[in-house]
Symmetry: C2
């Protein structure tokens, strides 16, 4: 039932924006702008007592004068005016209302009372509320962008729920820059009525969503969330970044969402038990959802590390170890095989150090041999994409002739771009995950662009790369264990 109902929320046929404005910089201006510019194609009704039209769309003085049923209203009026607005909405049969304003339970006693009054109005009239204190939502299937910050949203397979609107939109922006696309996004706000677990439940069966990302503080107080997440992870990976690990953080979270947050240690072990993958830093949210939404799952935890230079290989190994991954030695057969084409002084071990070779064919052969081997379940490739900087530098600051520059570009960048193409091919051929880590700037590097366009995220450090690989391994192990338990249960 909940799922069905939320279909209308994520694909409304008609929307009223109460508090829409033609005054630049007002939230009512920015949200309506993004809604229109985002390409929403249902019926759109700006509500404003004074304006006749906004962005060329006819405006109405109130919801009643629209004269039709509204699937969704976006309420952009100050907190104190919300209950009255909702009463008006009740009269015309509104299904969902997104309450943008802050100034409710997160601000103290009078705010809490106001929130209760608002919820009472909604409950008695059958309106479901999102928020208050929310920064909106996005839904790819109807080009629905109800957001204040400007985000050039790209449709994709990630569903994202956030207990902070500010963080949510920043992370979406970061994800999009890194080649990710989103199916749904909800900034759940104070969850006065609709709770984060209700949206999670919807995403579980949502065809547009293949992986789920969550930023949590109180997680709507928790118990229901864990109950729902437990069965969602059987269908789709769920990545959670939950703050409140330290006392200072828990206090801040409590004051932010206007509610106490549960013990972090309990959450941590619960997440592990039910297959939720936990990010430990905000950037890891993007790294993990990027690999979990696009890469094959590894069959085990044995990781190969391919590197141009020793230090980065050491760090990658170090963090593989820290995150519970194995960096197994290469079998003597594999070493013998690789001796045939690797440069002299290569490491003859794992990490596989090509000691700075610039020959792309060596790199490709190394990747292929390693992926073919049963000894390795997944591969980290360090440094691909960085050579673009060489050319950039030599173009602007060098003694090289044009001819030399172009020769260098062939030797470095073109070869590197070929490696990127090879990686895309090999990931499909062997169905094992490959994580590339380098500081390459996608705007500057063709190789990084090839990787990004083909679903291989370039993670900017080996520490984060190892953590992303660990998220694949952990989720894969969870599913395998689950399979075993199920089979046992059937006996």
């Amino acid at each position: 039932m909940v799922k069905h109902a939320l279909n209308a929320f994520f694909n409304p046929k008609s929307i009223a924006v109460i508090g829409a404005s033609s005054q630049l910089m007002k939230w009512g201006f920015l949200i309506l702008h993004n809604l229109v510019r985002g390409g929403y194609r249902g019926k759109l009704y700006p509500i404003n007592r004074k304006e006749k039209e906004i962005f060329g769309i006819k405006a109405y003085p109130d919801v009643k004068s629209v004269g039709r049923q509204l699937d969704l209203v976006v309420v952009i009026v100050p907190a104190h005016a919300v209950p009255q607005v909702l009463r008006e909405c009740a009269e015309v049969g509104v299904k969902y209302a997104i309450i943008i304003a802050g100034g409710f339970s997160e601000t103290g006693v009078s705010g809490r009372n106001l929130q209760e009054e608002m919820v009472d109005v909604a409950k008695s009239s059958g309106i479901r509320l999102v928020g208050p204190n929310t920064m909106g939502m996005y839904s790819s299937t109807s080009n629905l962008t109800i957001l204040m910050p400007p985000i050039p949203l790209r449709p994709g397979n990630i569903g994202f729920l956030s207990e902070s609107g500010n963080l949510g939109t920043t992370m979406m922006q970061s994800g999009i820059v890194n080649g990710l696309g989103f199916s749904r996004y909800v900034s759940v706000g104070n969850q006065a009525d609709m709770k984060i677990y209700e949206f999670l439940e919807y995403l579980a069966d949502d065809k547009a969503t293949e992986a789920i990302l969550i930023y949590g503080e109180g997680l709507g107080k928790g118990r229901e969330f864990l109950d729902v997440a437990k069965w969602v992870t059987r269908k789709k990976p769920v990545v959670v970044y939950k703050s409140g690990r330290s006392e200072a953080g828990a206090k801040a979270a409590a004051s932010h969402v206007g509610a106490m947050v549960g013990s972090d240690r309990l959450y941590d072990s619960a997440f592990r038990q039910i297959g939720v993958v936990r990010a430990e830093r905000s950037v890891e949210m993007v790294d993990m959802i990027s690999v979990l939404s696009r890469q094959p799952l590894p069959k085990g935890n044995k990781i190969g590390i391919l590197t141009y230079g020793g230090g980065w290989g050491v760090i990658a190994s170090d963090f593989c170890g820290i995150y519970g991954l194995e960096v197994p030695p290469l079998s003597s057969e594999l070493v013998k095989e690789m001796d045939k084409f690797m440069p002299p002084h290569w490491s003859k071990g794992n990490p596989i150090d090509t000691v700075g070779t610039l020959d792309g064919t060596i790199f490709r052969r190394a990747v292929e041999v390693v992926l073919e081997s049963d000894d390795i379940d997944g591969l980290m490739v360090l440094g691909v994409g960085g050579f673009s900087f060489f050319i950039h530098y030599y173009r602007t600051f060098s003694l090289l002739t044009n001819r030399q520059l172009s020769e260098m570009k062939v030797a470095l960048c073109d070869s590197e771009t070929q490696i990127a193409k090879d990686l895309v091919e090999l990931i499909n051929k062997y169905n094992k995950p490959i994580i590339v880590t380098s500081m390459a700037d996608v705007a500057m590097s063709d190789a990084a662009r090839v990787l990004e366009d083909n679903g291989i995220t370039n993670i900017p450090s080996p520490e984060r790369g190892a953590k992303a690989m660990a998220s694949l391994v952990d989720y894969s192990e969870y599913l395998r264990d689950l399979g075993k338990r199920k089979r046992k249960g059937k006996k």
Copy 2:
């Protein structure tokens, strides 16, 4: 004595590049190119048996035919040829030799023997060796850039020693992009002769160096390093990123530097005892050295957090707590004072949440009031610089008129740039550290540019910002405790 001797290494009057080449892409080409382009103004002698001149500089067939004493030679020949080259160097009175080639102790028995032979030649002739298996060095005071990778080096106050050449140059590049400058850099390689602690000793009294950054794996086996570091930290901050924390990492490090690495736990407690600040990820190297080389030290661990939105403030608090910093509540006087100018529904606590206000004057007053207060030793400011993205977006993808765009730019970016200028002013006025964290792209954001140009690093996440703040607090506490112990000792 060591120090005096190293002056000639960091400021050589004459350099021969043995293996210099006019063949594009050879190391002998790239290193000589960077040396010339970097602006080294001493005497430079390319050594090549066949070439008459490279980059317009007269080349010599061997060091002997140069006919003068050489302070420094850069040896870019294959490993097996190094001992003979050194014998020739010995005849003409070379002081220092940088041995670029790998293929020595890191590759097995025959490599170890070759390394011993090389060291014997050097010792018997009084040549001090850097390397082998090094990627070179940099010295700001003589525009000396002996590096293969292209790095647009900026002179500055940071001395940097690295046990990985690849990592060293990447991190320098990252530092430079983030506004940092370097005084010295040495990729110490296998440390067959000169050890990392000898360079550290030099940096301690080097006037060009005000803060020291180190990437370590074995740290030249450790004991001497800790002995030297102990008195260096009394003069200058020392940031160390040491890998080998996990077994996999320790193994990889051992094979990379050709030596066993010591127990990580012992290092960790030793670092703490002697005031070395430890980075836990590669990116933190840049964050920490950036604040320790440019920001005032805080008098205590009480941190104020100023944020546009709740979630980021929660995360910043969380990580302040995790790293041992206090996020104290605001005194009722301070809250009363701030109530006068803050927007309604501001958090009335720490984190200080301006609930998305776009009024820059409010932000400035908040910063000033907080810095004035004795309750706060340092300030984290979250999100400054991000509004540039708004304008970028609306310029390329919006329904706004030019006039509206320009109005928006004034309201958002100009106000934000003013905040950045205010922060620069206030950091000097109150002599308390301010760490700004946002995902703003310096290339795109005027505010971020103002901060960078004035020594306030923009750290891209609150987690890293908190860690950088903790490095300031930890070092400051170490110095204070040291002062107390000294005073007690004198009684």
